[in-house]
């Protein structure tokens, strides 16, 4: 993990994980996409001071990591990479929102800190769900699933191509930027102007590559539509989707942490 962009673009491992063969991997991608979507919507729909009710939602990523036989450490590192960005979004909340909201004995915690923590928690939850979705499904399969769920085919094709060529593009961009750096001798070079023309060149080169790819597609009889593979949305998918959705709705309407807490305290009373 040398650089942030390097790590963010390190899809190689995710691809390898997606080639796994567990019960979760075998589910129809649509079920997984819909369940993840339901999860994300429930998580982000909470009020901004909500924190404790979010915690039970970690059961979704945890269970999927277990069932999908994913390396938890790797997924955690991916999430940790995003958390600083989420923190930046929330970091001024404690400054502007100083009204005490929670009292822990003599310690008063302001609403700002709570909402900041809430933002970071939500980011961790949603990002982990997305990363896990890719790791148990594979990006191209997700695109095909979204197409079957009604996303226009043009977008699906765009996404598949984006995923295929983002590697080529970043490599090209990286080479161009390195060439610029090597000739600017540690100074600023010609500053922004050189970047502007570098970006322009990248755009033109992408354009030409797109033309060549189109040529290669035509040469192999492309008629404008991609073939679809057979879909199978069976009982297992239905069970997976409905049970997760039922859980999310329950956890959204009732604070799971409080329920558990009162259950435990009720037992020992």
């Amino acid at each position: 993990m040398a650089t942030i962009d390097g790590a963010l673009l390190d899809f190689k491992r995710l691809d390898q994980l997606a080639a796994g063969d567990t019960a979760v991997h075998r589910l129809d991608p649509r079920a997984k996409v819909l369940a993840t979507l339901a999860f994300i919507v429930s998580v982000v729909s909470f009020g901004k001071y909500e924190l404790s009710a979010l915690i039970p939602f970690f059961i979704f990523p945890a269970v999927l990591i277990g069932l999908g036989d994913l390396p938890a450490g790797y997924i955690l590192r991916k999430i940790a990479l995003i958390c600083p960005f989420a923190f930046v979004v929330g970091m001024f909340n404690p400054v502007f929102d100083r009204g005490a909201l929670v009292h822990l004995g003599p310690l008063a915690i302001s609403g700002g800190w709570i909402s900041c923590a809430s933002i970071v928690t939500r980011a961790a939850l949603t990002v982990s769900a997305a990363v896990i979705l890719v790791a148990v499904t594979g990006f191209p399969a997700i695109c095909r699933a979204m197409e079957r769920l009604g996303m226009p085919a043009a977008f699906a094709v765009q996404l598949v191509f984006l995923y295929r060529y983002i590697f080529v593009l970043t490599e090209e961009g990286g080479r161009a930027s390195r060439a610029r750096e090597l000739r600017s001798f540690g100074k600023k070079g010609r500053g922004m102007t050189s970047y502007a023309s570098l970006l322009g060149h990248l755009l033109l080169r992408t354009w030409m590559r797109a033309e060549r790819i189109h040529m290669a597609m035509l040469a192999r009889g492309f008629t404008g539509t991609f073939a679809r593979d057979a879909a199978r949305f069976g009982a297992a998918e239905l069970f997976f989707l409905t049970s997760w959705c039922a859980l999310f709705v329950t956890l959204r309407l009732h604070n799971g942490a409080e329920l558990l807490g009162s259950l435990v305290t009720g037992l020992f009373r």
Binding site: V160, Y165, V168, I213, M215, M217, A219, R220, G221, F222
Partner: protein, 256 residues
């Protein structure tokens, strides 16, 4: 077997900006021939290749592939007949996995199920890349990419193979393997290349393009002997035909 014939008559092509890339190119390639189209940068090699499967339309002249003249109606059939392998495998491999990529052409030709599977595995086996079937194209090495790119075309069982700079960017071993692989194919083959040693090994016939015109067309060995012709067209003898730079022995015309 007239299917495998490529005939180009008085072909001219000007790009929209007015550059005349091809001026009056004519040749006829018959069944089973292996032909190299060589020439300096900008001589019109790539433009010529793009005509052979109808990506560019001639400004004047005619192209016949097998029994068909190349036009809009015959284009699908001709694109199946002429398998085109592009210079940069990253342009050719655009699907998420090697399997999808090799299957792309056959699916467009209407294959499916077990037949498709057989076709894909067969094509990959032929280029010795059967073990790569589940990989993503961006995880492959340069030599592997090249092999898979060839498989994507073989899977459509073309009669004519057209390859732009096949050995470009390969390490010596991968280049050697690729040459051995291409020697085994009995298609009509058309290559462009700057790798003249490869041309010497693979092609019995060579066409030299220079400034959009055919300067020479004949047996490869004869053409490579003609020092004056080669240097006029900004080319030189293949290294294997030059003398040894260390001991000075070898064929005539060795460098000082």
């Amino acid at each position: 077997m007239s299917h495998h014939i490529v005939e180009v008559k008085h072909l001219r092509h000007s790009y929209p900006d007015g550059t005349a890339a091809l001026r009056d190119v004519s040749f006829r390639i018959t069944h089973g021939e292996s032909v190299a189209v060589i020439g300096a940068n900008g001589a019109g090699k790539s433009t010529l290749l793009l005509h052979l499967n109808g990506y560019l339309a001639p400004s004047a002249g005619e192209i016949r592939i097998g029994d068909f003249p190349l036009n809009k109606g015959t284009l699908p059939e001709i694109r199946r007949t002429v398998g085109m392998v592009f210079q940069d495998p990253d342009d050719q491999l655009f699907m998420p996995t090697v399997y999808d990529d090799v299957a792309f052409g056959p699916i467009n030709l209407g294959l499916s199920g077990a037949e498709l599977d057989r076709c894909v595995t067969g094509a990959l086996e032929r280029v010795g890349a059967g073990h790569l079937v589940k990989k993503a194209p961006y995880h492959l090495s340069g030599g592997e990419k090249k092999r898979v790119a060839i498989a994507t075309v073989l899977s459509m069982s073309p009669d004519i193979l057209v390859m732009d700079e096949p050995t470009n960017g390969l390490d010596p071993q991968a280049r050697r393997q690729l040459i051995a692989l291409l020697q085994d194919f009995h298609h009509t083959k058309i290559f462009t290349s700057h790798d003249l040693d490869m041309v010497l090994e693979l092609c019995e016939r060579t066409i030299i393009l220079d400034g959009g015109e055919v300067r020479a067309d004949g047996p490869t060995r004869e053409i490579f002997q003609d020092q004056a012709l080669l240097s006029r067209c900004r080319l030189e003898k293949p290294l294997s035909m030059q003398g040894c730079p260390v001991c000075g022995s070898g064929s005539a015309g060795s460098p000082p």
